[in-house]
């Protein structure tokens, strides 16, 4: 599915298609659950497609359990997909053998949410940053490694002296910087950021967001930026996908999604964000109930059990994610700007 190349935030860097994800599916078979009764299939990611362009940031938003993190893990093959393709530089990642996949990972790195859990407490910062070079010795010649570690640390706002300290001696924001330095060690093309700032306080969050934007321009990175904080995603993204129960329900430039959303779920989600400025406050759409279980999701449109606009057709026919209402892709039979 090709979308028009829109949405560069004034940066000249957004370029050709780099990473094509097609019909990605990840189902988990669960056994008879402790409290849910029967077993079943969790449709964690269910037919997701998108194209990531060079230098672009694609934001992915959605509530807990919508499949955001599963999507990240599948793309890195930390878990195996059920079906679909993910094509990077002409290769479908899902068809690669273990050795080839290791090589491909050089181009595709991840930054996790929890800076506390994702760093080995027994290693020094220098060891953490240089660890990827053990697998890819060719990236930085041995003699240059020390200098390169220092470069990377200073680049992310740490000091050369920090190289010999251990993660527990750092604050959350600093640990996230260590994680960023490590992800840059292999000169990747794509960095998947899974809730990279959610564990951080607002003042520290801003520092890390600025850093991510700076290194993006400097290293020509493309980001898949997963977060539940809608303001953070708006700030950093060129395009945004909204996920609900394993599916993209809307996909567009940040302006299309934030200023002219056409899917009722996106509209409700955005209206729920508490606004600091009274002027930004819109009429709140309070959704009834909660997200249904991804085991046996509703037929037709998965949002229909909570949608104020649902009609008979919504239960019978699944709305495809296609351009609607004279604008960007939206998976709603009745896609329309709010209030129309």
């Amino acid at each position: 599915m090709a979308e028009p190349a829109t949405g560069a935030k004034g940066s000249p860097a957004v370029g050709e298609p780099l990473f094509e994800v097609e019909n990605l599916v990840k189902h988990y078979v669960v056994r008879r659950g402790a409290f849910l009764g029967g077993g079943g299939v969790v449709r964690a990611v269910d037919d997701v497609s998108f194209t990531l362009r060079r230098g672009e940031t694609l934001g992915i938003v959605g509530e807990s359990g919508c499949g955001k993190s599963t999507l990240a893990r599948v793309l890195l093959r930390l878990v195996e997909p059920t079906s679909g393709r993910a094509v990077l530089a002409g290769e479908n990642l899902f068809e690669l053998g273990a050795r080839e996949m290791r090589l491909a990972r050089r181009r595709l790195q991840i930054i996790f949410q929890d800076p506390f859990a994702s760093l080995n407490p027994r290693m020094t910062v220098a060891e953490i940053v240089r660890e990827p070079w053990a697998i890819f010795p060719g990236v930085v010649p041995r003699a240059e490694r020390h200098d390169r570690v220092v470069d990377l640390l200073t680049r992310v706002g740490l000091n050369a002296d920090d190289a010999h300290r251990h993660p527990h001696q750092f604050s959350g924001g600093q640990r996230q910087r260590i994680g960023i330095a490590r992800s840059l060690a292999l000169n990747p093309e794509i960095v998947i950021c899974d809730e990279p700032v959610s564990a951080l306080d607002v003042s520290i969050q801003a520092q890390v967001i600025n850093l991510l934007e700076e290194i993006q321009d400097e290293f020509g990175l493309s980001y898949i930026f997963i977060a539940h904080d809608l303001s953070v995603v708006r700030h950093i993204s060129d395009r945004v996908a909204v996920m609900y129960l394993g599916k993209f329900v809307e996909l567009g430039t940040w302006r299309e999604i934030y200023e002219r959303p056409t899917h009722p779920y996106t509209q409700a989600l955005l209206s729920a964000v508490p606004a600091i400025d009274p002027a930004e406050r819109t009429r709140r759409i309070i959704l009834e109930g909660e997200v249904p279980s991804p085991i046996d999701p509703p037929s037709g449109c998965r949002f229909r059990t909570r949608c104020r606009m649902a009609e008979a057709r919504c239960a019978a026919e699944e709305p495809a994610l296609v351009a609607r209402a004279g604008s960007h892709p939206s998976a709603c039979h009745f896609a329309a700007p709010a209030g129309s």
Binding site: S171, D201, V202, I236
Partner: protein, 343 residues
């Protein structure tokens, strides 16, 4: 200084002593730890009047939870060392015997917190746990009556099919539904004050909207006062009339929420406001506050914010600024509060 704040006539930054339901004065809490003494709360004073809504805003570790933990009598001492006074009615909760504080904690002043799921006992039905509020605090209540009222409360907090679900166990409830159960327990005895410590932080934004709406409706119906603790500026902006901003165990600014947001009088508040990503700043770098909050075993002398403050002058590391009026409606603890306020 703390007491003076409460008696200052006609100062809208705080209700006068007469109007106050709960008055915290010069609260100090420290913890003995293997790494040294953690000074978690360092002289906090505030008061809340009947039906009022007050927010406590601050980043992780600023002392928000410890402050209200002291109010609720939840801190074990030792390790906590607690000083100051917390008055409710004529009672100093820090000095009164348990038989007196028991009539207040959980009864006149109730609390909900972030972790509703673990706050519930997994082995008991939610109906039983709500009914227990009556059994413990209103010993005359019959079992049937307590059970009936538990079902009513579940209905009141909008748990669907409340009548059937009194028999459910906590694991059958989502995070949002668990928080509703906690709210049902908290409002069971019609408290004068509800303290909500990050009640929606663990919840999705659409569920947060449901819970905040529920709290607003309940407040409307009962007239209870609300102390809302959060690190989310948007939540503060939408839900409380007054706000206290905390940094490193002290209140650094307080006043009417809208005014504080529109025109901060403390550099830390100003920094917080500008580090939130907003639509109009999309193409700009975010403003940041340099560095990180201090380690509480080694709080910088003078103004604790000085190592991170763009306005810092030599006086800032020498003299500690006290919380003083900038206008009749605003207090700020900054040597240069007037200049900050004037932009």
């Amino acid at each position: 200084m703390a007491v003076a704040d409460l008696t200052r006539a006609g100062a809208p930054a705080e209700p006068g002593r007469d109007g106050a339901l709960l008055a915290v004065s010069d609260l100090r809490v420290s913890f003995q730890t293997p790494h040294g003494v953690v000074d978690a709360v360092r002289g906090v004073s505030f008061a809340i009047g009947r039906g009022e809504t007050v927010g406590i805003l601050g980043e992780s570790g600023s002392g928000k939870s410890v402050s209200v933990g002291a109010v609720m009598g939840l801190l074990d001492s030792p390790p906590a060392r607690i000083g100051g006074a917390i008055r409710y009615g004529g009672v100093d909760l820090l000095k009164a015997p348990v038989r007196e504080t028991r009539r207040i904690h959980g009864d006149r002043v109730a609390m909900i917190n972030q972790d509703a799921v673990t706050a519930l006992n997994p082995g008991l039905t939610v109906g039983y746990q709500i009914a227990e509020m009556f059994r413990v605090h209103r010993p005359g209540t019959s079992r049937a009556d307590a059970r009936r009222r538990a079902a009513e409360l579940m209905d009141r907090v909008k748990i669907p099919s409340a009548r059937q679900r009194v028999q459910s166990y906590p694991h059958e409830f989502s995070g949002g539904m668990s928080q509703r159960v906690m709210i049902a327990m908290a409002i069971a005895l019609e408290p004068d004050i509800l303290i909500a410590d990050e009640p929606t932080t663990a919840l999705d934004v659409t569920v947060q909207a449901q819970i905040m709406q529920l709290l607003a409706e309940l407040r409307e119906q009962t007239g209870m006062a609300l102390i809302l603790i959060t690190h989310d500026l948007g939540v503060v902006a939408e839900s409380v009339a007054r706000v206290l901003v905390m940094y490193a165990g002290r209140i650094v600014e307080r006043g009417p929420t809208e005014e504080v947001i529109a025109r901060p009088a403390h550099p830390y508040t100003a920094g917080l406001m500008s580090s939130v990503p907003r639509a109009e700043h999309k193409d700009r770098k975010l403003a940041t506050i340099e560095g990180a909050p201090p380690v509480l075993t080694a709080i910088p002398p003078g103004c604790a914010f000085h190592p991170r403050c763009g306005r810092s002058r030599p006086v800032c590391s020498g003299d500690r600024p006290e919380l003083e009026p900038v206008t009749s409606a605003r207090d700020s603890a900054c040597h240069f509060a007037a200049q900050v306020f004037d932009g």
